[in-house]
Symmetry: C2
């Protein structure tokens, strides 16, 4: 962030200096906030959300997911790589087939919180 802290753009900055200080202390690091946004970005796509919901129920191979969602194998595989990179899913090879499943219960918790907000 540029050093503009002492160049107020409105009179309220100094009126609320205590609040500004408190916020600055409470604000997580730039890196943490970036990672957090990156995480939510992964959840911010219909296809990926669908894949995660499918894996809620059972581990599943790539082509079954594609079949279920009516999408191409390539599209699903690309998105599974995104989910894998974010450590939201894990996989298990069995012969020619690769089975994907949810990495842990955080995924359920996050989706659940979002669902609460959407369906209320």
């Amino acid at each position: 962030m540029p050093d503009q802290k002492n160049v107020p753009q409105c009179e309220f900055l100094f009126v609320h200096q205590e609040i500004v200080d408190r916020v600055n202390q409470a604000l997580p690091s730039e890196e943490t906030l970036f990672d957090l946004a990156e995480l939510f970005k992964v959840f911010g796509d219909s296809t990926r959300v669908k894949i995660l919901y499918v894996l809620f129920e059972a581990e599943m191979c790539v082509c079954d997911i594609a079949q279920l969602l009516g999408m191409t194998q390539s599209a699903i595989s690309h998105q599974l790589q995104v989910l894998k990179k974010s450590k939201l899913v894990k996989y298990r090879r069995e012969g020619k087939t690769v089975f994907y499943s949810l990495a842990d219960d955080h995924v359920r918790a996050i989706l659940g919180q979002g669902m609460d907000h959407v369906t209320e």
Copy 2:
């Protein structure tokens, strides 16, 4: 979705027909899943996450937020409109100034769940 349900692309689809049926039942509606992804999309940007974290601490006017984050008033205002449209923040006018605050505690809960996953 195209009607490809009876054109298996791999042998596992029919081996796991029961699972496919169960998943199809458990899967929320297309519209709900779309809304869910749209919600997470809003959280999927550093600037917006920062704004929300700032509002965690206190209601704040546009220019104070811009000041705090070292960004232009315009950029912050644009993002506040996005957050407003998603009903994640509310605002209160006081003379020339507009104060923004979190709309409800869902926002905290969702960010908190994400933070758990990021900081573990």
